[in-house]
């Protein structure tokens, strides 16, 4: 049974898109959609019109024929599209007369597809043609690609061949290379070597031997793989290789290019040696180019000329080095030789960079190349300056030497030992006579005239020279110039040439006549002997020491003095030997002086060998040698032990005498106080009484009493004066006064006495030019005049007394007055006149003069006048009369200098309403003072000692205290101190003192007292003082006949009258002494202070001791006792109030004295 598979035409078309159905008339009934696409107009068209059967071949394309095409592959051609073929098969459609062609286009490439605008969708899915075409396409592509590939390969093959060939060629290169080429990896392993490299078996590098492989393994460790090229040298057998190592990290290996540098190296070495030769040459070497310009210079050139290569490169040497002194001809010669290319050799003067000239020898030549062309010039320069200098010097020297020798000696000789020749520079002057006689030995003739005593010396000396023992000598010997005369010769020789053994060949020397010197020498020696003897025998000790006090020499006297022998002394130190350790310092100080060149004399205590203590006076002087260097000192020693002892004794005696004087003064002072106190009472009371008496006889009695007490007072005053004068405590006032007045008063007072004796009493002349007011001491002048007038009246029986007052000199500010008191009295013998002023000597007639009248009379007068700086002279003739002349130099004054003159006003109501306290241990004194004051209206209370006074002052109010100083229980000073301290600083306290000596004022003031009165005091003075301190106006003053007993306390604490007497008018000396005193006082004050702080009481004593004489000399009486107390008792007092008081007071007084001294006019 036939099975049918049927499709719808559309479905069928999907499966077979290219089917064609034709009927038996060959009309196309239907076709597939893709055929339709190809040609839309196919339906009902003739098959043969549209298509043709390409294969198989049909004779006729009719239906019957086509039927035969079944079961075959048929190719149809598309008439519309001629290229297109359809491949398929015909089949008869059953039950019809139709045929169907089923097929699809046949393409052999993809392109056709595009041509016919067919795409994938036009084909049935089952139709593989497209895919096949693609595969085909791919294969085509593949084939093309393969062809391309083969081509490429061929190309590459050819390229490779070419490259290979090239490589081969290139590779040959290294193999053909005569130098070793090596390639190593980074471990040093050899990768490639060329044939030459293979031949190298061993390499020596850094003194180590390696095989090739070892070598590179070693080297590779040191290579920096980043470097471009490294070069090392190594030796193999006899060859030296330089290996250039080129690391190629990109390629992973290192190439080594070797090179045989053996020859090179050798040449290098040669060159090195040669250039070293040039460079290090001690001569200067210069190389210039063919134009003669400097290319190179060596070190020596630099040193020689001072120029560096930089300085002169490119310059011509001649231009640089030659200068003004260079010889022009030589310079030209050089230039010519160089131009001609000829060698040159010359000496020329060159100049260094610093313009120093030097001589140089230049040798040089041109250097030529293989064509004989000049390529360079070179020259060697040798500094011959020194050589030339030496030659010149030698010439100079030889001349000078000869000259010198001739100057040195009288003759110059040259002794040629070999030639046995002696030459003299001045044969005519030769001192040694030589008669050249070939028969004798030269020596014999030479020494013919030499003094026998000296011959031995000369011969020995010659021997020593000849056998080389000495090179030079200096001999003095005598040569007989005649039978009896000889000359002294100084023969000096020196060996100037020696042979190989050192033996002399030639000597030269001088002969000098030294006869004169020799004579002088001996004369000198004799003198020296003489002085030595003097020194040795002199009676003074002579000691010579060196700069260290070491004894060099002592004469016999010195040895005797010290008790040591010269042997014992020599070499010992002088100071330690003789002197105690304390005094050693003195000697050391002296040594210092000697160093300064000072000579001086001094005393020092020494100990003799036996221990005796001696005092020596040493006069030392520095000792110089003949060069003027200090070599020590020389001392002359004198034993002054005895005189020292004497000195000491004298001092002791002096001190004793002073002590006794002081005792005497004290006694006098005390005594005067004791006497004054009752005197005060007597006079005071008498005066008071007188005021209340009316009757004549009463008045007479009282006047007598008063007169007597006056006299007594005067005597007392005189005694006091004398003691003051002795103590130097009496001073002269300097106040204004009228001479006229003074003289008038004297006359007034003494007139009645003259009248009594019926004598005339005149002032015959009073120079009108005498200054109205003079400055001086009117009281003392009064005293003197009174004394003289009194004497004159006493010793004149007839005639009279005259006073004459003349002006001798009238200066601008002073005048010299001449006052003469002359009488027509009994006169004196001449012998007695001279003794008149002497004190305390017993003479008959003079006694009455001296002891008469107003007490100690003339001696006091003289003292007073002299204190005033005046002169007193006496002219007397027995039985004619006496004239005593005073000369006074007084300063002129004015009215302002006059002391206040107060009227004799007594205001008896002056002291009313005043409460006064009078303190005195003596009732009488109390009475006197109180009465006086009561007279003026004062209310008076009394106390008999300081203690009582203080108690009373505490209880009652007083306006003023009058305080006696000397009192028991509590003395005035202490009482005042206490008052000042505890009660009142202002309450006026007036001291009543019997002493009134200089310095007392200080005591009072320092105690706190305001003022003082000296007992016995006058009523007026008492009242004046009281009113003054009570500030009550008006004072009472009464002129008295006698000079005031109130001593004007001098403010000066010192008295330079003794100084003045020593000075004898030398003001400079006085000033000097004062200056010295001031210094010493200041020093002493500080020394004492220091010592006190250190508790060094010994020093205080010492200073006091030192100060004592000065204090006495300066008349500082107030300290007289105290300084002695300090001296003797400072150590005993030790630190105590007593000592302190003493010191404070001493210091105070000294300071005050210093101030006063500085301010003295």
């Amino acid at each position: 049974m036939n099975k049918f598979i049927g499709f719808e035409q559309e479905q069928f078309s999907k499966i077979f898109p290219f089917f064609i159905v034709i009927n038996n008339e060959l009309i196309i009934e239907s076709c597939g959609r893709s055929i339709m696409k190809l040609n839309s107009n196919l339906i009902n068209t003739s098959f043969n019109e549209k298509f043709q059967v390409k294969r198989p071949f049909l004779q006729k394309c009719d239906f019957e024929e086509i039927k035969t095409l079944v079961n075959q592959v048929v190719f149809l051609g598309f008439n519309a599209k001629t290229q297109l073929s359809l491949r398929g098969q015909f089949e008869i459609i059953p039950d019809s007369d139709k045929m169907i062609f089923i097929g699809s286009p046949w393409f052999d490439s993809m392109k056709l597809l595009q041509n016919y605008n067919l795409n994938l969708h036009d084909f049935a899915y089952h139709d593989p043609i497209i895919d096949m075409l693609h595969v085909l396409n791919n294969q085509e592509i593949g084939a093309i690609e393969l062809t391309q590939l083969v081509k490429r390969i061929n190309q590459q093959k050819n390229d490779l061949k070419e490259a290979n060939r090239k490589t081969q060629e290139i590779a040959l290169f290294p193999t053909q290379n005569p130098d070793p080429l090596i390639r190593i990896d980074f471990d040093g392993k050899i990768l490639i070597t060329n044939p030459i490299a293979k031949k190298i078996s061993k390499l020596t590098y850094n003194s180590q031997v390696f095989t090739m492989s070892q070598f590179w393994q070693q080297i590779v460790k040191t290579i920096n793989l980043n470097s471009k090229k490294l070069v090392i040298e190594a030796k193999s057998d006899q060859k030296i290789f330089s290996f250039a190592i080129v690391p190629l990290p990109d390629y992973g290996y290192i190439n080594i290019y070797g090179r045989d540098i053996t020859l090179e190296k050798n040449k290098e070495e040669q060159l090195r040696i040669l250039s070293l030769l040039a460079a290090e040459n001690t001569h200067a070497v210069v190389i210039a180019d063919k134009k003669g310009k400097i290319e190179w210079i060596n070190r020596s050139f630099e040193l020689m000329t001072g120029y560096s290569l930089k300085d002169i490169i490119g310059k011509k040497p001649g231009k640089i080095l030659q200068g003004p002194g260079s010889n022009q001809a030589t310079s030209d010669y050089l230039r010519n030789q160089i131009i001609n290319g000829d060698p040159f050799d010359c000496e020329i003067l060159n100049y260094t960079k610093t313009n120093n000239p030097y001589w140089v020898r230049i040798q040089g030549q041109a250097l030529r190349d293989s064509n004989d062309k000049i390529i360079k010039y070179f020259a060697i320069q040798e500094d011959i300056t020194s050589k030339r200098e030496i030659e010149e010097k030698l010439r100079d020297f030889t001349i000078k030497f000869k000259l010198a020798l001739e100057q040195v000696g009288d003759n110059v000789w040259e002794h040629d030992l070999l030639g046995k020749d002696i030459n003299y520079s001045n044969p005519s002057k030769r001192l040694i006579d030589i008669t050249p006689n070939p028969n004798y030995e030269i020596e014999l003739t030479r020494w013919k005239n030499i003094h026998e005593d000296d011959l031995q010396l000369v011969v020995e000396n010659e021997q020593k020279c000849r056998n080389g023992e000495i090179d030079h000598y200096s001999l003095e010997y005598r040569i007989w110039s005649s039978k009896s005369d000889f000359n002294w010769i100084l023969d000096r020789g020196v060996v100037i040439d020696k042979d190989k053994q050192g033996l002399p060949l030639k000597l030269i020397g001088t002969h000098t006549d030294i006869t004169k010197q020799k004579n002088t020498e001996s004369a000198l020696k004799i003198k020296e002997e003489k002085y030595r003897n003097i020194i040795a025998n002199i009676n003074l000790g002579l000691l010579e020491v060196d700069n260290d006090e070491i004894i060099q020499y002592a004469n016999s006297r010195f040895c005797n003095m010290i008790g040591y022998s010269l042997e014992e002394l020599a070499g010992k130190k002088a100071s330690t030997l003789f002197v105690s350790s304390e005094d050693e310092k003195i000697l050391l100080d002296k040594r210092k002086l000697r160093i300064k060149g000072v000579a001086d004399a001094y005393e020092v205590e020494v100990r003799s060998k036996l221990g005796e203590r001696l005092w020596w006076m040493i006069s030392g002087a520095p000792n110089y040698n003949d060069k003027g260097d200090l070599i020590g000192s020389v001392g002359i020693h004198l034993d002054i032990t005895k005189s020292k002892k004497l000195e000491h004794d004298l001092i002791v005696a002096k001190e004793k005498a002073e002590a006794s004087t002081m005792a005497k003064e004290k006694f006098l002072a005390n005594m005067s106080h004791e006497i004054r106190t009752p005197m005060n009472a007597i006079m005071g009371m008498s005066n008071l009484l007188r005021k209340s008496l009316k009757q004549k006889n009463q008045l007479f009695y009282i006047d007598t009493i008063l007169g007597a007490s006056d006299n007594l007072l005067v005597i007392l005053n005189d005694i006091l004066d004398i003691s003051k004068i002795e103590a130097g405590k009496l001073t002269i006032e300097k106040i204004g006064f009228k001479m006229e007045t003074v003289i008038a008063r004297c006359i007034q007072v003494m007139a009645h006495r003259a009248e009594e004796k019926d004598l005339s009493f005149t002032n015959s002349f009073s120079d009108p030019n005498i200054s109205k007011v003079l400055i001086g001491d009117p009281y003392r002048i009064n005293q003197v005049l009174m004394n003289l007038i009194s004497n004159s009246i006493k010793f004149t029986e007839k005639g009279g007394v005259d006073i004459v007052c003349k002006l001798i000199k009238n200066r601008k500010s002073s005048q010299v007055l001449h006052i003469c008191v002359r009488d027509t009295g009994i006169g004196m013998k001449k012998e007695f006149v001279s003794k008149l002023f002497q004190k305390f000597t017993q003479e008959d007639e003079s006694i009455s003069r001296r002891y008469g009248g107003t007490g100690l009379g003339l001696s006091i007068t003289k003292e007073l006048i002299e204190l005033m700086g005046g002169l007193i002279t006496i002219k007397s003739e027995k039985n004619i009369g006496t004239s005593i002349n005073l000369e006074l130099d007084l300063k002129k004054g004015t009215d302002e200098d006059m002391p206040d003159k107060h009227d004799n006003i007594s205001n008896t109501k002056m002291l009313v309403d005043t409460n006064l306290l009078v303190v005195d241990d003596n009732e009488m004194n109390l009475l006197v003072a109180s009465s006086m004051l009561k007279h003026y209206g004062a209310s008076i209370k009394t106390a008999s000692n300081g203690q009582e006074a203080i108690e009373m002052i505490k209880k009652d109010k007083f306006d003023l205290i009058l305080m006696d100083v000397q009192m028991p229980v509590l003395d005035g000073l202490e009482a005042t101190r206490q008052i000042r301290e505890n009660i009142s600083k202002k309450l006026p306290v007036i001291a009543l003192t019997a002493y009134a000596v200089k310095g007392d004022e200080q005591k009072f003031l320092s105690a706190g007292m305001n003022d003082y009165l000296s007992k016995p005091f006058e009523e007026s003075k008492l009242v004046n003082v009281v009113t003054k301190w009570l500030s009550i106006d008006s004072t009472v003053i009464e002129a008295t006949e006698e000079t005031s007993t109130v001593e004007i306390i001098e403010e000066n604490l010192y008295n330079i009258s003794s100084l003045e007497s020593i000075a004898k008018g030398n003001v400079e000396f006085i000033e000097q002494m004062i200056g010295i005193f001031i210094d010493m006082a200041n020093r002493s004050i500080s020394e004492i202070k220091d010592a006190y702080h250190k508790d060094d009481f010994k020093t205080i004593s010492k200073v006091a001791h030192r100060l004592k004489p000065s204090i006495d000399n300066m008349g500082i009486v107030i300290l007289k006792e105290e300084i002695r107390e300090l001296e003797s008792s400072a150590e005993a007092y030790k630190r105590s109030e007593k000592l302190e008081k003493l010191l404070v007071h001493t210091e105070k007084i000294l300071k005050e004295v210093i101030v006063q001294l500085k301010h003295r006019s």
Partner: protein
């Protein structure tokens, strides 16, 4: 991949950057072959290396290279060598994309050793669709994107391509959302 791919890359580089740069790419890639036979299969590795080297030499990212290559593949290689095939793929983008799986099946006839990726379509609507890309090879989704761009150009249709899912985010395949 078949040599044609590598060759295509070669042609791309030479056309855009010159022979010298292609030599550099070759060198850089380190591969031994310097000549590719289109119908011969090569290691995928080679293609990746070439892509990488090309990226280096052209100083762009690998993805850029792949995308560029994708375009090139469509517009040049495919059209030149498989024109008919391309045309028969579809008359518009949608059709082509819809036919893509069938398309690849055909290609396997030509290249027996071909291991092509699988494509599936979903979410089809007038203006777009989702293309699912299944591949055993990693990292070539940019190539796919390039192809899609190229296709768009070929059909002269502006396309928007969005990679909405990818394997690097843990999915098992890429999904491109394509709109035109």
């Amino acid at each position: 991949m078949y040599g044609i791919v590598n060759k295509s890359i070669e042609e791309l580089v030479i056309a855009n950057f010159g022979q010298d740069n292609w030599d550099k790419v070759l060198e850089k890639s380190g591969i031994e072959e310097d000549f590719f036979i289109s119908s011969q299969p090569y290691d995928d590795d080679i293609t990746y290396k070439l892509a990488g080297a090309a990226a280096e030499v052209m100083n762009v990212t690998v993805n850029d290279v792949l995308q560029l290559f994708g375009e090139w593949w469509v517009l040049k290689t495919s059209l030149e060598k498989y024109q008919g095939l391309m045309q028969s793929g579809g008359s518009n983008l949608q059709e082509f994309l819809l036919n893509l799986p069938a398309f690849h099946n055909r290609i396997m006839l030509i290249y027996p050793k071909l291991t092509p990726p699988e494509f599936k379509i979903s979410d089809i609507h007038d203006g777009g669709l989702n293309l699912h890309y299944y591949s055993k090879r990693p990292g070539l989704q940019e190539f796919v994107r390039g192809i899609l761009v190229g296709l768009g150009k070929m059909f002269e249709v502006p396309v928007e391509i969005e990679l909405i899912k990818e394997r690097s985010e843990g999915h098992d395949h890429e999904i491109f959302k394509i709109n035109w």
